[in-house]
């Protein structure tokens, strides 16, 4: 099968699956800023993806994947975005936990956890940030110790996406008492639904909730549920942050193009495109999107080396700075195009897509490593500037 045949296969499957009675309601749902929508249906969608072999495309075949090269994965994500398919609830398991287990996990762990991820039946969340450890992740204080063959976990995580639907949490905790900073940490695999774990949603500026606080009060997991060596959690956690190769980024750009088009349509519809300032900003947004696309394609192709100046594998940091900033500007443009209507909310604080984009984009420059942290990484690893 060549690439275009593969693309046709993906497109055909998505078209028919999204036309089915069960999933027709999901088009465009659950994406950016709307993770609260149709959660049960999206969990069923995840199982459908898994049943038909669309999860784990890049994993080795021996581990239950399809062993596809990254450009085929890009094709899948592009078609997924083009089909306006729903926001995933299984992506943390598929794109972060599974690659980490493939890199650091034991044979038993792979056999235990990969099939549930591949089938879409076991969902994951990621417990990294804490109230006192955001940008400074190494300052985390959640602690765990072994007794009677089990880890006992106490502490608190925050900004945990999908904790309320997840079955498992990939948890970074301090397992060596008295150790500091990046020493004495371990990555634990913890079942979420148990008496020792309490989950409280965080209502965000959109009025909805898609992140949670997670409280651990003598929560338990089996002693063998550690990814990598005990005490080696920092390396494993950083490996996890590094595995995301950006195969979904080009798909994301298709969603951005769709959002840009709706802003343009709105500007034409209400005549604001006739305002030279709005026209200039619309054109700048379009130019910015093309620049983002070229840079993302280059990053995927490993093309940042020939320029010579910026090295050190910081392409994903560079594209994160770019897409978050671009998207935020688009949200600002969108409400300015909407004009006075954008100052009203619906009943129960119901928001338009425009308002949701405008508000949620404020999160994007903060989560996943704030843009200030990204700049530090680019400065240190990409440019070789000394640490402050």
């Amino acid at each position: 099968m060549n690439d275009s045949q593969f693309r046709a296969e993906v497109r055909g499957w998505l078209t028919s699956a999204l036309a089915s009675a069960e999933f027709a309601c999901l088009a465009g749902k659950g994406g950016t800023g709307r993770a609260h929508e149709f959660v049960a249906e999206r969990m069923a969608w995840e199982r459908r993806l898994g049943a038909d072999g669309w999860i784990g495309l890049g994993w080795p075949e021996a581990d239950g994947g399809r062993g596809l090269p990254w450009h085929r994965q890009v094709i899948f994500h592009e078609e997924y975005a083009r089909a306006n398919a729903p926001g995933r609830v299984g992506h943390i398991g598929e794109q972060l936990v599974a690659p980490t287990l493939l890199m650091f996990g034991t044979a038993e762990q792979k056999a235990r956890f990969l099939p549930g991820i591949a089938a879409g039946t076991e969902l994951w969340c990621q417990g990294y940030s804490e109230p006192g450890a955001g940008s400074d992740l190494a300052g985390l204080r959640t602690r765990a110790s072994v007794s009677d063959g089990e880890w006992h976990i106490d502490g608190q995580k925050i900004w945990t996406s999908l904790a309320h639907v997840a079955d498992w949490c990939f948890l970074l905790a301090r397992t060596t008492p008295g150790a500091e900073r990046h020493h004495g940490l371990s990555c634990l695999l913890v079942p979420v639904r148990q008496p020792g774990i309490e989950i409280r949603p965080i209502t965000q500026i959109t009025g909805t909730a898609e992140f949670n606080e997670v409280f651990f009060d003598d929560a338990r997991t089996a002693e063998e549920n550690v990814a990598g060596e005990v005490g080696d959690g920092w390396r494993v956690a950083l490996g996890m942050l590094g595995v995301e190769r950006g195969v979904s980024n080009l798909g994301q750009l298709i969603g951005f193009q769709r959002e840009f088009s709706s802003v343009l349509d709105m500007a034409r519809g209400n005549g604001s495109i006739g305002d030279p300032d709005i026209a200039a900003r619309v054109t700048d947004a379009w130019i910015g999107l093309q620049v983002l696309r070229f840079t993302t394609e280059d990053a995927l192709g490993g093309g940042d080396a020939a320029g010579g100046v910026v090295t050190g594998g910081v392409a994903s940091n560079i594209t994160k700075l770019m897409w978050t900033t671009w998207h935020q500007r688009l949200g600002e443009l969108a409400v300015d195009v909407a004009g006075q209507d954008a100052t009203l909310a619906g009943p129960d604080y119901g928001l338009t897509d425009t308002q949701r984009l405008f508000l949620f984009a404020r999160a994007e420059t903060i989560f996943g490593g704030s843009n200030e942290i990204q700049r530090n990484i680019v400065a240190e690893r990409g440019l070789g500037l000394p640490r402050g």
């Binding site: 026209a279 619309v282 379009w286 620049v291 280059d298 700049r375 500037l385």
Partner: protein, 332 residues
Amino acid sequence: MDTPDQAALREAVRDFCLKHGGPGAWDRLTGELGLTGLAVPECYGGAGAGLAEVAVAVEETGRVLLPAPYLSTALAGAVLSGGDGASGVAGGEFLPGIASGALRAAFVFGFGSQVTASGGRLTGVARHVLDGAEADLFVVRAGDTLFAVRAADTVVTPSPTLDQTRSQATVAFRDAPAQVVGCAAERAEDLLRVMLAVESAGAAAHCLDVTVGYLKTRAQFGRPIGAFQALRHRCADLAVEVTSARATAYAAVRAASPASPAELAVLAPLAKRYCVDVFWHSAAEMIQLHGGIGFTWEHEAHRYLKRAKTSQLLHGTPAELRRLVGQRAGLC
């Protein structure tokens, strides 16, 4: 991103620019390296390569602001060859000279020029002709047609320039004999914008490179100033801009293949606007982050600032190019 041949070419040009980047560079640039003939077919003494190879050389010569009419001459080689491959009407007469370096070329386009054609002769005055002072050959837009005119058949008046690394001239045509060039004028103008984008991407990378090097060694308050976050973050932002400018410039180069005229029409003004703006920002930051030394005549920073502003103001200002992108992309 480079093919192996392009990587070898890049290394050779970069090495050359480091060692011989002075005013006497032209003979070696054309003789030893044959750079002006990169896009000229082999039957005319060129290398028979294409615009992608010209772009590599333009980026590298742009990095050091090589004071020679390289960009315009090498691009003229491509344009007179019909863009890529097939020879244009005027090609055969001029291409061997371009390939050997005997003929230096410059482009005369719309902005600031009023040149009209009648019966195979051109009349009018063009100002701000980049690389015009030393040109032997002008590639001139009159209406939608492109012409080749020998400098000997015109009156060339060099102008002192803000950017002393690239000449400008006012060129007067009075019934000057002209030959039609087999390349659409709009395409040629877009190709010039693409090459200015590539050159700017290279020069911007150099500005960042030199600035980062300085921040690593310059110490204040007992530490290298590159350790201060206020400066590091500005360099990181420049790194984002420089990386994306390069990606954009080469996307425009790829669109320059004759197979994608609509894409070139959009990406040429887009890339020129974006890359030159990045260059301008990089040059301005280069001066600020160097402090007082960056304001001196001896330091190279001012040459980059002046080149950036010159490139920004000629062949389409940022505002003009934005309007052009908006129109050509069907936005507004």
